[in-house]
Subunit: 204 residues, 4 copies
Amino acid sequence: MINASILERRFPGRRAQLKRDILLQALQCFNAHGVEATTIDMIRAQCDTSVGAIYHHFRNKDGLVAALFFAALEDQQQLMQNYLEQASDLREGIAALVYSYVDWVVAQPDWARFQYQAHSSVSKGPHGEELVRRNSERGSQVAQWLAEREQSTQLQDWPAELRASLIIGQSENYCRSWLSGRVSTPPTAYRDILAEAAWRSVSN
Amino acid sequence: MINASILERRFPGRRAQLKRDILLQALQCFNAHGVEATTIDMIRAQCDTSVGAIYHHFRNKDGLVAALFFAALEDQQQLMQNYLEQASDLREGIAALVYSYVDWVVAQPDWARFQYQAHSSVSKGPHGEELVRRNSERGSQVAQWLAEREQSTQLQDWPAELRASLIIGQSENYCRSWLSGRVSTPPTAYRDILAEAAWRSVSN
Amino acid sequence: MINASILERRFPGRRAQLKRDILLQALQCFNAHGVEATTIDMIRAQCDTSVGAIYHHFRNKDGLVAALFFAALEDQQQLMQNYLEQASDLREGIAALVYSYVDWVVAQPDWARFQYQAHSSVSKGPHGEELVRRNSERGSQVAQWLAEREQSTQLQDWPAELRASLIIGQSENYCRSWLSGRVSTPPTAYRDILAEAAWRSVSN
Amino acid sequence: MINASILERRFPGRRAQLKRDILLQALQCFNAHGVEATTIDMIRAQCDTSVGAIYHHFRNKDGLVAALFFAALEDQQQLMQNYLEQASDLREGIAALVYSYVDWVVAQPDWARFQYQAHSSVSKGPHGEELVRRNSERGSQVAQWLAEREQSTQLQDWPAELRASLIIGQSENYCRSWLSGRVSTPPTAYRDILAEAAWRSVSN
DNA sequence: GATGAATGAGCATTCATTCAT
DNA sequence: CATGAATGAATGCTCATTCAT
């Protein structure tokens, strides 16, 4: 069963009950068959509602996808922020980034699966600009955390473009493998190895 | 202009001229609009041929996608093999994996872009099993290379499932960023950093 | 800005404020996009009201169209009656018909445009019979005016079916051209020519 | 039964059989229910063909409407041209315009009905510019005929914008009445009266 | 009265695929 | 081998209308 707390936090209230249900069933359909292969009617059947209701709440299929996508993004970002706040030095900061990434994927595997899958769809669609904006926001958050610590200057040795890949690349790669079933051990089991590897990659 | 040598190697001869042209134009369309959004008729128009010809050569759309996908996969694998053969110890082996990955993406950006994009499409479709088989083949190649060297036992310290991610994850992550335009420096510029980071991640 | 006096005359009072506003915005939408292409929601947005309010006042879309249509028809008929009352002989009567037609179209171009456009819609719809009845009423008015004058027997030389076309056809044709922008000189500039032509057409 | 010769002339050959049939059934549907109220599926059912075939031949509904509209326009124009060529002086020219108009409507009532009905639809749609162009072509044809005769200078007394209305307005008005069933005598019965009235309207 | 969420039949259009020529 | 007309299931979406609050 999908974790629905993300939706309750984002669309609270009794009035939004149907809206949340549509999103939940849509998420399930998208993950089961792919975004493009999922039809509005499949979602409608899952919710036992009408197509009109779906269009009333989300304008169109892109809108539905985007609503899910940004809900996931924000939840993930929130967790990262929480972890980051508790880190005191650079090493802990990098571990926070890795841990939060890995923990979120394992806590919300359906949301994570959807995020990987829908990424290209959203970035090409009418909400592509919003995605760019949100991503740069996340970059700023991390940058600000770094700016507030002394030793962060260590990271300056690496090209700015490369830093994120060095820190999160291995974790992302393994998470994708896990979500697609190619490996079975959950990424959380390797949290420490991944954090240590990231640290060794950027420290000198 | 897309590098067509991959096709000439794989489908040689004058008789296969049209076949190669269809593949080339299809690749262009798929990258420009996405696999699902590309219609057979769009490809037909680009090649100035008939839909019948396309179906004659590739049976159906999935067949066309698969033909492109496996052509790319094989070319990439070939380069990896070449690089690996010239490596003599573990450190050089890991560098060979990183270099071959990065060099291929930069040499064939259109094929790489397509590979990322079409992956889920192929794995869900009727050629999904073939993909699994080819991937495990590649795993075996690397495993065999390792088996032939002494020091490879070093890698045994890390969980088998995790090794590929530790070695290639950062490179993949950066290559994706580059292909999607989020960063502009080609991954080859950072070959050495990426290889060094991979090495530090797995050595102890 | 559309001349709203027609509505104030027909739906007077402060209570009918919203009703008049709906009609006015509807007229604007109908002329801008066509009757069929205008949706209830477009009108709702223009009035900043609710769909429920529109349905409360007009029962359904046909009712809204009909309300506008008959308001226009009655206003036009009223002007014709006024002009006719001041005519003393046949020649003046024919001029009255031409003048009133032309003057009304120029005074109320939006209402006239709508009238031409909505005609087939209304005649096919549930208010089609009312339209027939109103049209024959107008015929009777003119017939009665003629019956009250001596010389009207002149018109008897022409087939009854043909009379209206001979008198008003040229004016109508030019008014349509003007409303659709194909010609730019307002029909009122040619009132006298049109009246004279009509007279010559039916006199002998 | 609709006169199909217009279509055979315009889309000749055995290969175009289905194309002609689609047009014919579409014309019937459009006249029976109105352009907007006619669905593609209604036409498909009438032709016992597939929706794909309709879209293959006409691209979309607008294309189907336009194909019919311009076929009618051209046929009507052809008849006008024929009549005009046989007229030797201005009076005969004006009669030719009236006769050709009236005769065409009576010979092709279904095409004429469609023409009146579809006019606004076409002029607003994607073929609106083509309509404007064709109309001005027709204007040129008449102008050229006039230029080749001496006495045509008589017409110069009337404003250019007004001439067409003076000549054809009454006929058009009566034809519309006849096609909609408001009068039952065919316009051809009044050809001479209408031509005479037009002549009296413009001569002095 | 006013509101607007919900309904669901209906529509234009697409597109992979087939097959007669 | 090549062509492209024909197929028709499937899809995203619209919109007039209803009705509970």
